[in-house]
Symmetry: C2
Subunit: 393 residues, 2 copies
């Protein structure tokens, strides 16, 4: 049996996630494993929960990292809140709204779809119409920051709208948490899920979630059992709840949680507002460079995410070849378009630790070089100065 | 916002898992994160799958690590194979059979329970009776190595029995994989799941699973949609299937997979048979020491697991106080009893990397010291020599 250790290359990660992971977080992963019921670990869990509450800006007791990736966090929100026969208004303006629909339907609910063009924000007018047409709707679900397009929706307004019609709001904050303002309590979000590998710059595999007291009440009042044992928050809270007495539900992913904790400590050290401002500053610099080069951003300015930049592929350029060369020659990863944007855009992430001066400069330099080699009509020598002018303003 | 890095204590892990994690595996966790669609990562996935197939002794194409803990792997097996209305014979001889029942019922199936005493193996006679009484049964599900008691069941015989009655077999190999013989192809197991943090000595958080071609056929022929989007093997295989073309399903837990890969490389280097023999040898040594001290094992010899040893708590001893002192004075973790064995046994794990001479000696020495201090009637000074005599035989 041939078997050899794997030594990954050292990439710069500027796709839609995972983002660059700081050395501090990588080092935390390798700290000694302890038991999931060790008193030291129980104290650690309390601290981790406090840090998650800080990042989400919430006092919700039911705040914890789901032991799986963002899609497990998404499913945790839906299977706990949706019962067979429930109507859920699902807003789709990219790939992830489609996944929400799957979640609703597989939970036995009916999804009423509110469709917007990929790259646009969710249109509150259409959501209001859907709520008026479906007074039985129990939940409105939408994506705050669409990872597939780079569009930001007005979470505060959409939650208000849902509440005005007596519905709960489930918010996908996978790409927004830590990158743009997100106020779980301030906006009265009922259920929210995120991912560890985006603006938190931890490794992939964990999904922070939070449920409001109203959402918890709805879960407690269910007529039917939650269809997933693994994701049943009633059971999970026996382990993640307060106090020294924790009952075993499943073995927590100890070392991954060390990494998440470290990334949240770094976020607390920087401050949430400072992190939002850093994402915005580096986005403006990247944009200035791209535009100077002649590469327009795909999403309209008012709803453009700073941390995820969809860039239109120039006519006649094989976008996959560009990504292949960036990876091969510069060890730089950027993302392809997803779904109906496949082949039409690249997605350049400035997520978390990737929102740094060196990343912006490398990305612009490498793009300029590769596009030039492939004969694209790009302006040479102007992108980096334009970006630095923004950063040094 | 107060925030400080977490520095865990350095424990010796001899509970029911997580087990001691070798330095090589901890170091692998901290290697540079790369993208889940990076060509280097795709090649790595193929190698990881090959190593998993080796550990499971299978050629099953549908062999992969579920991106969640063992209970997510369990649920993956049940939600893919059980449809509403299906009858599943669930064997319960400890805590985890009960969890299987939950999985069957939440998938809309009917669980026919075959109950055995905690600490006994599953009784094939009772399973046969259940199969005769329920000719409609689609699946027989049982735990190979019961982590809650330390009893080993005859997986080969039970699978044969299921097949003779036209049923599939789902096998819980969470604690057996890597510790005792497990032959997924040789025994014709249809679906099997395990955990990373037991005899593989990786960190917790991943669940290797494997499905036979017959199981895949049953999944393909379902009348209803799989209730979990996250666990739907039809979708997951778009990412974990063969070839260079992988479609994104969810972001893989990259760094955790580095750790699992390293642990499987170590297993391949040692050899599966050698790993089984090492578990058995250290178990016999631990047993000799415990018996010399006057501490009997709870499970009868013929069905006793080497890697998980349930030890009867002496009369009048507060078992929790013993564990507290072992942790405090020796940084040694052993497990408590679960469910109906709570307070009656300790569970001493010799899982994976914990099946070492130094662990056996530390555990016996520490137990002798703590039990002596608490006034238990244990023989002093005989346990370690008895254990070493076995190891040096």
């Amino acid at each position: 049996m041939q078997a050899a250790p794997f030594h990954p290359p050292q990439r710069t990660l500027m796709g839609p996630g995972p983002s660059d992971v700081p050395a501090r977080v990588l080092a935390a992963l390798g700290r000694p494993t302890i038991g999931h019921l060790d008193p030291e670990f129980v104290a650690f869990m309390d601290d981790l929960k406090r840090l998650l509450q800080h990042a989400f800006r919430t006092a919700n007791e039911l705040t914890l990292p789901v032991s799986g990736p963002g899609s497990a966090g998404m499913e945790t929100c839906f299977v706990n809140l949706v019962e067979p026969g429930d109507t859920v208004i699902v807003c789709q303006n990219g790939a992830f709204g489609g996944r929400m629909r799957e979640n609703v339907e597989r939970s036995g609910g009916t999804a009423v779809m509110v469709m917007d063009r990929w790259g646009d924000a969710v249109d509150p007018g259409k959501v209001e119409e859907a709520l008026e047409a479906h007074p039985e709707a129990k939940i409105v679900a939408f994506v705050h920051a669409e990872t597939s397009t780079g569009a930001l929706s007005d979470a505060r307004g959409l939650v208000e709208l849902a509440h005005r019609h007596g519905a709960l709001a489930i918010v996908d904050a996978v790409t927004s948490l830590g990158g743009v303002p997100l106020e779980v309590d301030g906006w009265e979000i009922d259920a929210v899920y995120s991912g560890s590998q985006k603006c938190l710059s931890c490794v992939p595999g964990l999904s922070p979630v939070s449920f409001s007291p109203s959402a918890v009440e709805v879960i407690r009042g269910r007529r039917t059992k939650i269809q997933s044992w693994f994701m049943d928050t009633n059971l999970v809270m026996g382990y993640w709840g307060s106090g020294q007495r924790r009952s075993y539900h499943h073995t927590a992913p100890i070392n991954a949680l060390y990494g998440l904790h470290e990334s949240l400590v770094m976020l607390a050290e920087e401050g949430l507002e400072a992190a939002w401002a850093r994402h915005r500053r580096h986005h403006l610099a990247l944009r200035a460079g791209l535009e100077a080069m002649g590469l327009p951003l795909f999403v309209a300015e008012p709803v453009r995410l700073p941390q995820l930049n969809a860039v239109s592929v120039p006519e006649g350029i094989d976008e996959a070849e560009v990504r292949r060369r960036l990876l091969q020659d510069f060890d730089l990863e950027i993302g392809s378009g997803l779904g109906e944007l496949a082949g039409r855009v690249w997605r350049i992430g400035l997520l978390g630790h990737s929102a740094r001066r060196r990343n912006v400069v490398l990305c612009l330099t490498a793009l300029e070089s590769v596009l030039g080699d492939l004969g694209a009509r790009v302006q040479r020598g102007v992108a980096v100065p334009a970006a630095l002018a923004v950063l040094d303003r």
